[in-house]
């Protein structure tokens, strides 16, 4: 079953003449770990923003073509419905973490989705276990390293228990040790059957994917090395 279906997608930002994505098509199977690479500015992050509805719901631009999540057109879904299906983790953990304890941070998403209190407690435990950060539950995220912060950002999205997880250059600001921890977490999530799309310009970070695609000149193609 394809959980993400994109066909013939064209996109350009407002006030830009040239299209960034030019007739792009993509299908992602349930449980697949897909990696997308490409040079800086080629539109990788834009593609993720379109998949999770940031574009056109929050940021504006001109979109043509179909983008479907579980068979439903993303532009017809409200952000609240999308956020139950897709979670996204961004490059900079400091722009995602804002509450005073790790526990508060992880609880934030489920609280917004009206998850009952007892269930939130269980989700916090599960999310922290998934990223192997159980002992940091009451820690202030500001006291953590970049890699640990990013793991907390991932745990915060995992607690929403979405079917799809999008990771936008999550290892780009992290040291080697942090990268290893994040890769281990991604592999564990993949084993548990989570559908994931990872975007990164560093091919070394994508070796764990089932399939690697390259975004070039607005189109996706099989990655055959630089």
């Amino acid at each position: 079953m394809d959980v993400i279906e994109i066909s013939n997608l064209y996109f350009r930002y407002s006030k830009r003449e040239e299209y960034l994505l030019k007739g792009l098509s993509l299908r992602v199977r349930k449980g697949e770990l897909l990696a997308i690479t490409g040079e800086s500015g080629c539109g990788k992050s834009t593609l993720l923003s379109i998949i999770c509805g940031i574009i056109p719901h929050i940021r504006k631009g001109e979109i043509e073509g179909e983008v479907k999540l579980f068979g439903r057109e993303v532009r017809d879904m409200a952000i609240r419905d999308i956020s139950k299906e897709v979670g996204i983790v961004f490059q900079d953990p400091d722009s995602q973490i804002f509450l005073p304890t790790v526990e508060d941070e992880i609880a934030f998403g489920p609280e917004n989705l009206m998850v009952p209190r007892e269930e939130i407690g269980l989700r916090i435990e599960r999310a922290l276990k998934a990223v192997n950060m159980e002992e940091y539950r009451l820690e202030n995220p500001n006291n953590l390293s970049g890699g640990q912060k990013q793991l907390i950002a991932i745990a915060s999205v995992l607690a929403m228990e979405t079917d799809i997880l999008l990771l936008d250059e999550v290892m780009s600001q992290i040291d080697e040790d942090g990268k290893d921890k994040i890769k281990r977490t991604i592999l564990n999530l993949h084993r548990e059957g989570k559908t994931m799309v990872i975007v990164d310009h560093d091919i070394d970070n994508l070796s764990l994917a089932d399939r690697v695609l390259e975004l070039k000149s607005g189109m996706l193609r099989e990655f055959k090395g630089w």
């Binding site: 526990e103 508060d104 009952p116």
Partner: protein, 244 residues
Amino acid sequence: MTREHNLDPRTKLVIVLCLSTLGIAVNNLALLSAIALLSYVAASLFRANLKRTFRKIKSLIYMLLFIALVQSIFTRGEPLLSAGGFAILTVNGVERALQFILRMAIVIFSATIIGTSSSRSIIQGLVQWKLPYDIAFMAALGIRFLPMLREEIRDSLVAIQLRGIDIKNIPIKERISLYSYLFNPLLVGTLLKAERLSIAMEMRGFRAYDKRTSYLVLKFTKLDYLIMFFSIAITAVFLIISYM
């Protein structure tokens, strides 16, 4: 970990409200001194980090002292210190300056009491007081952005100094124009950060519903009720004495 006191943040808000009301409403110098002392004792009892607060607001304290001095010079009344028939300081002026300093001290001491609770528990306190949760979160986020802005300013100044400009030893006129160059990139950088954070929050379902559940639930204890009762009672006594 967050340095947090066990009392409900709403109790602390009531204490702060009482102290700041007294700070504004009372004019008598002796009473104001007593309220400032009370605020200091309360902040100490809550184990507020007063040393750190003073370090942070050191330049603000100098400014407050300067304002107090200006106020004391420009207030007319019975001369206390004069030169050539011109009154430099008046009794009224000194009194006003002292009132101003004591009021500011009350505000600063009481603000440190709030700082002993985490921002999340303060938000929860406000939400349980029926403040819409999005407004409570926005207020807390605004407070979070202040240190972020300070960090950005510090980083930009370090970047300038690394390019060989000694900010401390350049004329004030050039220093002002240097700060004006920093303003635009700082503003844009902060707005971009704010936008990224708001997108991350929305993608985690913020404002998806009119209500939200909460993992953190605050409950008043008997001690909270007792402290709130005494705070209000003491405030009433001070106000009565002050207006008698």
